[in-house]
Symmetry: C2
Subunit: 734 residues, 2 copies
């Protein structure tokens, strides 16, 4: 878009500075591979920086953050340095979709994405390591992460976890090597969160030993299905399994959707219908669409029959007698989706804060009181208030995610795989995913606003990342529905007496889920007995910064909220309709209690991580960050603590000023704290995070210095007035 050549005046910027022109991205570091995070620390001339001896150990902290599968995580991160895997903002949807499909083939060639599959089939039987790498694909393009997730995490996982050995041998190779791109066709337009109510039917025909897959009504069309519009050659389709006149509930079948057309392109088979969802708010590299079926015949052998089998004559059997329990067991095998979305959201949050903090450490606006130059954005209190608590939340989320991933690996590697383990994992994932995905949106939005107009330009990535992450808060379990699930678990754990209350209506799904749960390894750790003796320390001498005080305040709130709701629910059990009304009147409170519980889990994970930090200075700074996380939680819910007598008014007034002090203490370490995330400018690919702004400022300072030195700087009118007044001359035009 530029034009004629520019003549340079004697005092104009030196040509060297022209490399900092807006729109020019800095060259990628020659050897970004596993580069030490500390090397990525942005230059911040004049900004508040800790003395050399006071700096935290960025390398060790980076290692801690990257966790158990740090090598796999960094390898995936650096895979995202391949330009062919990177998102091109503004690419038309059709091209973006084909590009992402090609990228998936590149991932297959790399082999990393197949780690979760059986060794016998070329995988590594490494579910945790697989997801650790997967989480980092967001750095390249969230569409790539999600399309990969659809293929291997949902479609492939469903075959792996719901199918038998024959299915694995017959179907997984094509799924793994992407010769069969596929769909996970569960959601219907008529039913999103309420999967049990889907209306697609698979009716067994003993005459031909086939299931007849059928979409009887528009509400039963499969909707928002990745790979449905274009690329899907097969699908795992969820349908009500009907045999011998009995509906055995939701089961999954492997269904071929498309065959080869004349030119080898996929063409829909007879009876299979698809429609394109078209443009979406983000993730436009994925061809989401609608699917419906008109009496499509599926061989009996394609029923994924681990939890429900139909013999040739149409007899149904299942290893799980209770249909409700069977349903939730089947769905539970797919928890991997939530775990990996949660991790991807943490990755996006890190990137958002990394970009905004780097820019905030460099960008200056308005001349400071000392007249020596303009003030760095991150020196403004409001800017600290906007970014640093989000940084603390991101650290907390990262440590909690690491714990979730370990538990996931324990279950799916078979190390700790009891029913109770699975249920705890599901609850933990249901608690984690809402917080991390909302955090990603909060962090990306605040970062975008904190970078002003630059944050809105696609080349700085924040806007595009936010668009892509948007749907994470409602897919793979709507965040509010998930929190309600957690809330119900908290109620169940609160005491057996709770089992007697009538729960209906809004709680039906949740109730059915909860009925299957044991009380083993309860997330609500201390339960009822401790309710009465809490608050003592927090009210008394305990300092707000003391970890015990914070823990007590956070635990106490969860427990008291749960106890209060339980009390309200217990006190009435008239008709189911009335009971449902009472439950509904506490729905918001229950969701808030679940959120408080999930926040407590994050705080505990953050606190546990502190013990693993060896360098005292690093531990001190990280403890301050943990305190910021804990105290901003207390600040957010201060009214509750005051109303319920946990904190005195006097004490409460100190919370905000305490938070303000923590911000000042953390300010010098902000650059190091984001550097520990391990992203270089080449990973972030945001012009504003390349140092371009600092170079422009340097050029500007040099220009004005030379202007002054040459005596060519114009007099400022204001100064002229002042000097004229001093010399007794009349000021002009008054």
């Amino acid at each position: 878009m530029t034009s004629t050549t520019r003549t340079t005046g004697p005092l104009d910027a030196a040509p060297a500075a022209s490399t900092t022109a807006p729109g020019t991205t800095a060259p990628a570091p020659a050897a970004a591979n596993l580069s030490a995070p500390s090397a990525a620390t942005p230059p911040s001339p004049g900004a508040v920086r800790p003395e050399p001896g006071e700096r935290i150990d960025v390398t060790a902290l980076g290692r801690l953050l990257d966790g158990r599968w740090w090598q796999l995580r960094r390898r995936a991160r650096d895979l995202a340095l391949d330009p062919d895997l990177q998102k091109i903002e503004g690419l038309p949807m059709a091209e973006h979709r084909e590009r992402v499909l090609r990228q998936l083939r590149t991932l297959v060639a790399q082999g990393e994405v197949l780690r979760a599959f059986p060794v016998a089939l070329g995988g590594k039987d490494d579910p945790g390591g697989n997801i650790a790498g997967f989480e980092e694909l967001v750095v390249a393009d969230p569409s790539l992460q999600i399309k990969g997730g659809v293929q291997w995490g949902l479609f492939g996982s469903a075959v792996l976890h719901l199918g038998n050995a024959e299915h694995h041998a017959r179907l997984l190779p094509g799924i793994m090597d992407l010769t069969v791109p596929g769909c996970f066709a569960m959601t219907e337009i008529g039913h999103g969160s309420d999967v049990a109510s889907i209306a697609t039917t698979a009716t067994y025909d003993a005459g031909t030993e086939e299931f007849v897959l059928h979409t009887p009504i528009a509400a039963a069309r499969k909707e928002y299905i990745g790979n449905a519009a274009l690329h899907g050659r097969a699908a795992v389709v969820f349908a009500q399994l009907i045999t011998r006149g009995v509906n055995h509930g939701v089961h999954a079948l492997y269904v071929t959707l498309r065959g080869d057309g004349a030119d080898g392109a996929p063409v829909l088979l007879p009876g299979v219908h698809a429609e394109d969802d078209g443009v979406k708010g983000g993730l436009n590299g994925i061809d989401n669409g609608r699917l419906w079926f008109d009496h499509v015949r599926v061989p009996r052998a394609n029923l994924l029959n681990r939890y429900g089998e139909v013999t040739a004559d149409g007899t149904y059997s299942s290893p799980i007698e209770n249909p409700g329990r069977r349903f939730f067991t089947m769905l539970g095998t797919l928890v991997q989706g939530r775990v990996s979305l949660s991790g991807a959201a943490v990755t996006a949050s890190k990137m958002a804060l990394d970009i905004a903090v780097r820019y905030g450490l460099e960008r200056r606006q308005f001349t400071g009181a000392d007249e020596t130059g303009e003030v760095v954005l991150l020196d403004y209190q409001q800017h600290q208030r906007r970014l640093l608590p989000l940084l603390a939340r991101t650290y907390a989320a990262a440590f909690a995610q690491a714990e979730l991933l370990e538990r996931f690996h324990d279950v799916f590697s078979g190390a700790h795989d009891t029913d109770a383990d699975r249920q705890d994992l599901e609850t933990q994932a249901a608690a984690a995913k809402p917080l991390t995905t909302w955090l990603a949106l909060d962090a990306l939005q605040e970062a975008r606003e904190a970078c002003g107009g630059a944050g809105f330009i696609a080349e700085n990535r924040l806007a595009g990342l936010r668009q892509d992450m948007d749907v994470y808060v409602t897919f793979e379990g709507d965040n509010n529905v998930l929190l309600q699930l957690v809330g119900k678990r908290l109620l169940t754990d609160y005491g057996k007496s709770m089992a007697k209350i009538d729960i209906a209506g809004a709680a039906r799904y949740v109730a059915a889920r909860a009925a299957d749960m044991t009380l083993h390894r309860t997330p609500l750790r201390r339960a009822a007995q401790s309710i009465h003796d809490t608050g003592s320390r927090a009210r008394a001498a305990g300092h707000l910064r003391a970890a015990d005080t914070q823990r007590e305040l956070l635990e106490d709130r969860v427990e008291a909220m749960v106890a209060e709701i339980a009390g309200a629910l217990r006190s009435r059990h008239a008709s189911p309709v009335e009971a449902a009304a009472v439950f509904n009147a506490h729905q918001h409170e229950l969701i808030e209690a679940a959120r408080a519980h999930a926040e407590l889990l994050q705080w505990e994970a953050f606190t546990a991580a502190l013990a693993r930090v060896r360098d005292p200075r690093t531990r001190e700074v990280l403890t301050t960050l943990r305190d910021l996380f804990g105290l901003t939680l207390v600040e957010k819910n201060l009214a509750w603590y005051l109303m319920n007598g946990r904190i005195s008014a006097q004490r409460a007034k100190t919370v905000t000023s305490y938070v303000d002090r923590l911000l000042v203490r953390l300010r010098p370490h902000a650059g190091d704290l984001v550097a520990a995330f391990g992203y270089t400018p080449a990973h972030l690919r945001a012009t504003i995070a390349t140092g371009a702004e600092g170079q422009r400022q340097h050029e500007a300072r040099e220009y004005f210095r030379r202007l002054r030195a040459a005596g060519l700087e114009p007099v400022n009118e204001k100064e002229l007035h002042a000097s004229q007044q001093r010399s007794g001359l009349a000021t002009p035009a008054e």
Copy 2:
């Protein structure tokens, strides 16, 4: 994307229902022109609805909401029914830009967008009516609104308000009829909010009677300039005006950018450089870009010289002696941009809630306790909690916007145009725009999440609107900077004693602005004298729902916060550096005080509007909505009220339960309250707001009814177990 024809089984849905297929938009009403809003009420079978006699007067309420310029507003709204003016989601950027340029020409033909210009030139001298219509263009495409705003609201306005009669006669016709698409080139990459520090220079050359316009450094490049990348043929460029060796500060010049190329397409003139900003987070129908100048010569007559003139020999003169005051007077003439953005944000908020409430009244999920059917989303407490307070905020914002627009019209029509009027208008606009633009993002995001996956599909508009509205929170004045400006005004008004405090550093811009302000018509209405006797009513018998109690609580908080900050600033005045540090330590608090003040203005406007409602039932419901607005503000800041002894802990506990009761009371009126916004499905253009969901449900119910009637419904496995157990048979497979 569909495929072969579908055979219909005997019990399949009747063909009529196929019109409700996803992706099919409902046909636009034949006569949508000024159609009564009540006609737009969505059908909601089975949902909670008020009895006929209990319904509000939607038509009268719609008229009240549309305000003084209701006819112009509705005409603009219906202009948006023209498919040629509507946004096409997913259109490639280049095509979108050309489409919006063509749309601007359509607007010129309609003539409405020229109402603000002088009658003598074909306008209507109607600044208020002009903006009222402008606000509604968001319904068609926010890019259209903003590109129109660049052309007529910024570029044209600058010529109108900063130029003289000769400029008007010579330049405005081409601007008005779009033969000269133009730019408003103020912001530089190095300086966004700090306009006074821009570094582009316009140095007067008496030898040729020209200004030499020059960009000496990369930081001085104009950035994010609409029309800069492609369409701009001219620009109003802001630069430091230097003549006879004196810099007289920022002034505006009219500069030709592009001439006709070989094929008539615009081509950059020598010395003018432009670069495309490329893809943005939204508003991609506008060709934003960078502009810079290499010793470009501009005739002396093109200085827009209303506030600063240079004679042929280079003598500078201005009607405003003080350079700081001159600068702010010049910028103040451009307040129109903030007023119209604020109004556009209200429009977007209305659309968001309209779509989400219509869908929430129709969509059902999970079977209710009475087993008769699934529960409507808006009957869930959490769904009410998510949407209804936003609906209350939208009403409050709409009424406050109407007041702002009246004041804007008073000033710019000349009816009430003193310096004080202008300053009050600027403060009011600075308070309004942050709240309305953040509201739009909150409403669009919550609506999008409340509609689940459907909210993410572009055809339902929420995602695209949110992307387009995103930048509204940082352009035409960053929201945080604007709130700080309001905060400073509150401090100034708080008392003359405040004038003595040293303010520096972060406050420099704000301080300069405030120094010019009089204390006439202070936004801080009751100031210091009332601080000491507040809180009595709220603490005592006054009911929380009483308007006086709410007002007192809201006013009291603003005043007490301002007093506290003032006290903190007054107590020290050592070095400027120290004073700046103290100011910075209270920056967050000051911004929060400004937010509280802006919320109070909204509450007052809402309350004032109640008196204009004649129908008692409507007034009652609207009062309930106002109470919801007031009490959710109190709830949000409950900790403050508790800590500062304004509300007892006992009382505070009732706030949330009171809010919950208001939600239940408002629930039956939700449909009517959004219908009063006056948008039909044809305006909203969201498939989920067309009744498609209701029709799908109807089809589903009919299908299952026929299945049962025909005796073809399969037995549910659960029921089978139960009946087998009853009859003493063993259950299978256990």
